[in-house]
Assembly symmetry: C2
Homo-oligomer: 361 residues x 2
Amino acid sequence: MKTYQVELGDRSYPIHIGPCLSDQRLLQATLTQQEILIVTNDTIAPLYLERVMAPLRASGKQVAAVILPDGEQYKNLTTLNLIYDELLAQNFSRKVVLVALGGGVVGDMTGFAAASYQRGVDFVQIPTTLLSQVDSSVGGKTGVNHPLGKNMIGAFKQPLAVFIDPSTLSTLPKNEFAAGFAEVIKHGVIQGADYFAMLETRLADIFALDMSALIEVISGSCAIKSSVVAQDETEQGLRAILNFGHTFGHAIETTMGYGQWLHGEAVAVGMVMATDLSSRLGLIEPALAERIIHLVEQAGLPIQAPDKMTVDSFLTAMYRDKKVDAGTLRLVLVRALGDGFLTAEFDPSALKDTLAAFCDG
Amino acid sequence: MKTYQVELGDRSYPIHIGPCLSDQRLLQATLTQQEILIVTNDTIAPLYLERVMAPLRASGKQVAAVILPDGEQYKNLTTLNLIYDELLAQNFSRKVVLVALGGGVVGDMTGFAAASYQRGVDFVQIPTTLLSQVDSSVGGKTGVNHPLGKNMIGAFKQPLAVFIDPSTLSTLPKNEFAAGFAEVIKHGVIQGADYFAMLETRLADIFALDMSALIEVISGSCAIKSSVVAQDETEQGLRAILNFGHTFGHAIETTMGYGQWLHGEAVAVGMVMATDLSSRLGLIEPALAERIIHLVEQAGLPIQAPDKMTVDSFLTAMYRDKKVDAGTLRLVLVRALGDGFLTAEFDPSALKDTLAAFCDG
């Protein structure tokens, strides 16, 4: 078991990476509360719910579970309310602890329910997808989507602890594994040149689900992300670099409708577009741009925008993005491998060239 | 203009009491943001919306308003979503400031929208009811109701500032004024013996809306409440005494259905019941109990539970209350004028006697 500590003052918490589901001692030691609500979805429940629930019940706690419909399209206030319904039906007090068992959608909704049930209760995460293991398990962003924008309703809420068992990736569909890997690549591009090189070297092992490779990938990503988050918990500055590829990606998700493209697939194209723009602006050599795009492609991720996207649909959605400040569009670009940065100072015609290049393709 | 500072470290904020609507200089100086959403309701909008909105528009800001249906029965996730809808329809960024113009329901929902829109934006309060001026404007509790419980979904969120213009009380229905006065009495009973005596002395002036009396009432209540809140912002201990009368009162509201009884009316009966229980337990002399109950009655507030309530319906609702910790019911009782305290140690048969006395009456 490898433990990585996310340092956030009195909101610090550990991320345990290893066979957490086979060996639940650490999980049991963390869940000291008597009232426990496990939140999961209808894909994960048949696979892992009983494994988590049975030992807790056996220890005499009041344990309940709520099974949400699986999918980004259900990440909304209506589904969130199912969690509140169950909490109240169980008559759970402020001392309840919520357990998020599933991917990023389950984690985001459970975290926001924990932030808002009775004005705040505890929660832990057991992320079961690569995306949630390397991304949403670190940072405390929680929330739901709104028809007019992704993650527009939410809170910053840190968990008590995160338990990552890489063996859960064996039941993850291949395209979702690749989508999670998009965020892994992102971490290398923006803050980890050596990490990026390791990904290139061990790509085959990683996709073969070699356990030591997975632990290296997950702990490395958690380390990069938590280092960024620790420096800027509430996203006033540095943390924005984690949005590399996301402004383009969110535009794709918003325009196509949630659930049509996987988040990581949209981010993959977004990273390719941000890389293309960085290259057009002369921030990086074309060879480095090629190298980044090549890894995205090798991971089986899309590198072209959907046919439906136009320059205008990108611009409309991008200017509605959260990163827009008083009408000024800021983007995360890259000026060297491992050096992403947020900027509003770029030639808008270069952006239009990038958009045109990807929308015509 | 009288200003009272609520001391909460880096979340400290001023409460300005005086002719804030006639003289908007302080309000304008506080609202430095370019994006402003005023949240109000369909009762208050015709009376005060334009007075707040026009000067802001004149100063060149992007100002929008959302008008919610008036009433506790609309304090829910569905109505909350109308605020998010407008924020997104206006394409408002993280730099938006929300202005809550109305009573406690508007304040609670606006505060929670501010806590959760894009994971947190600023808000100010312009409370227009006595209840919101003396109670919800201090303390940072925000949220909405759930069909199974009041205020079950929410967040702690402090405003940038509160602007109280007592002249708005001239448009407040008399029964709502009395309902707000229930919380005023509460503050005297739990933490302000001298304040309670002042209320007895100036009762006629207060109900005649004498401006100096109102300022004394409002600033006194804000002082008592903010002193309690400052010592216990997130309700770990002392703050619980502010729930004097509320566990009984919430039981009435929950059982009768929201909107049937005004919150303050239910709290008034709840205070009378908590006072009766304190007397039965020998914590206070019958004469003091009479004095408290007399002031409630003089204020035109109910002192008997609704006919529909039974001992069982009280107990069922009370054990579902947020103050229930691991099955133990805690109540705020009084052991002297100005000395309320939270306790789980009381003879349950005395509680049943109190419930029986009020349900049979």
